[in-house]
């Protein structure tokens, strides 16, 4: 699956067991893809097997209100494709 800038996504609730770079505070939260950063070694896999296949990395924008229930700022995270689910319109 590939995501495009402007697309609505939701961060997954559960990361891989063990090491992950999916922060707890965005899990299950809706966001909008801001940009494609490129392909980078997937760290969850690297931590487990000592090597990792490259995977698409996206900059994703989350509204503070969707993260914390209040606030008027935006938080951008770089999230691997495996961390994201599509949101149907």
């Amino acid at each position: 699956m590939n995501f495009s800038p402007g697309q609505a996504v939701r961060a997954r609730l559960h990361g891989a067991p063990g090491h992950t770079r999916l922060p707890g505070y965005v899990r299950g939260r809706p966001g909008i893809v801001h940009a494609l950063r490129g392909d980078f070694p997937f760290p969850d896999e690297g931590a487990r097997y000592g090597r990792a296949e490259p995977q698409a990395l996206y900059s994703v924008r989350f509204a503070a209100r969707d993260l914390w229930g209040s606030g008027d700022h935006d938080v951008y995270l770089d999230l691997f494709e495996s961390y994201l689910n599509e949101v149907s319109a």
Binding site: R21, R37, F40, D74, D78
Partner: protein, 205 residues
């Protein structure tokens, strides 16, 4: 427990002796530690990031290239914009974000302490603190106020959490009244905190 073997030599002499032994046994090349120290203390540092900002202030084409693909700029021009050999320094995947009248950017790494070291030097202690890492994404306006950055209510805050391979450099706003200054003079105004977004650049007195 005895205290017969308490070290008496000052730390610097003990480290020098240890370094010499490692060199004698081939674990280190002569001068290798000095080179690493030189990289961290002199070749990497906020003066590099400040040069990027000053160039972006005076050169609209450079600013556009930097905001479009900062990694390409780093690869082409070096961390110091003066042809430093990037091969000797850690590679940086870089994204530059510009402050404007409407938008203020702030950088954090909530998971650890990711930071664009070649452009900013070793990170300050507060950047690695639990308080900063947890509060920057939750209440950035309050955090910024504690840094002395009071933004108008209409200024939108973007917080960049360095969760993966990209590092972030904030291009602060150019202070008013600096039209007559050259690139080097402008760079001298730009401090580390402004490059993280935790500060702004003040006009010279």
């Amino acid at each position: 427990m005895t205290h017969d073997h308490q070290p008496t030599a000052p730390m610097a002499r003990r480290v020098a002796a240890f370094e010499r032994l490692l060199e004698e046994r081939g674990a280190l090349e002569p001068g290798q530690v000095d080179d690493v120290e030189d990289v961290f203390c002199r070749r990497m540092g906020a003066r590099n990031g400040a040069r990027y900002v000053a160039r972006a202030w005076v050169d609209a084409d450079f600013r556009a290239r930097l905001l479009d693909d900062a990694t390409a700029v780093v690869r082409a021009e070096g961390y110091d914009l003066r042809g430093s050999t990037n091969a000797e320094l850690p590679f940086l995947e870089l994204v530059a974000v510009a402050n404007t009248e409407e938008v203020h950017n702030l950088v954090v790494c909530t998971l650890c302490s990711c930071y664009p070291v070649p452009l900013l030097g070793p990170s300050p202690r507060w950047y690695k603190s639990f308080a900063y890492r947890s509060r920057a994404v939750r209440e950035p306006r309050a955090v910024l106020a504690e840094f002395g950055v009071d933004l108008g209510p209409d200024v939108r805050i973007r917080v960049w959490d360095s969760t993966a391979d990209c590092r972030y450099l904030v291009v602060p706003r150019r202070p008013a009244g600096t039209g007559g200054l050259g690139e080097d003079e402008l760079a001298a105004l730009v401090g580390r905190d402004a490059l993280i977004g935790a500060g702004v650049v003040a006009a010279p007195l």
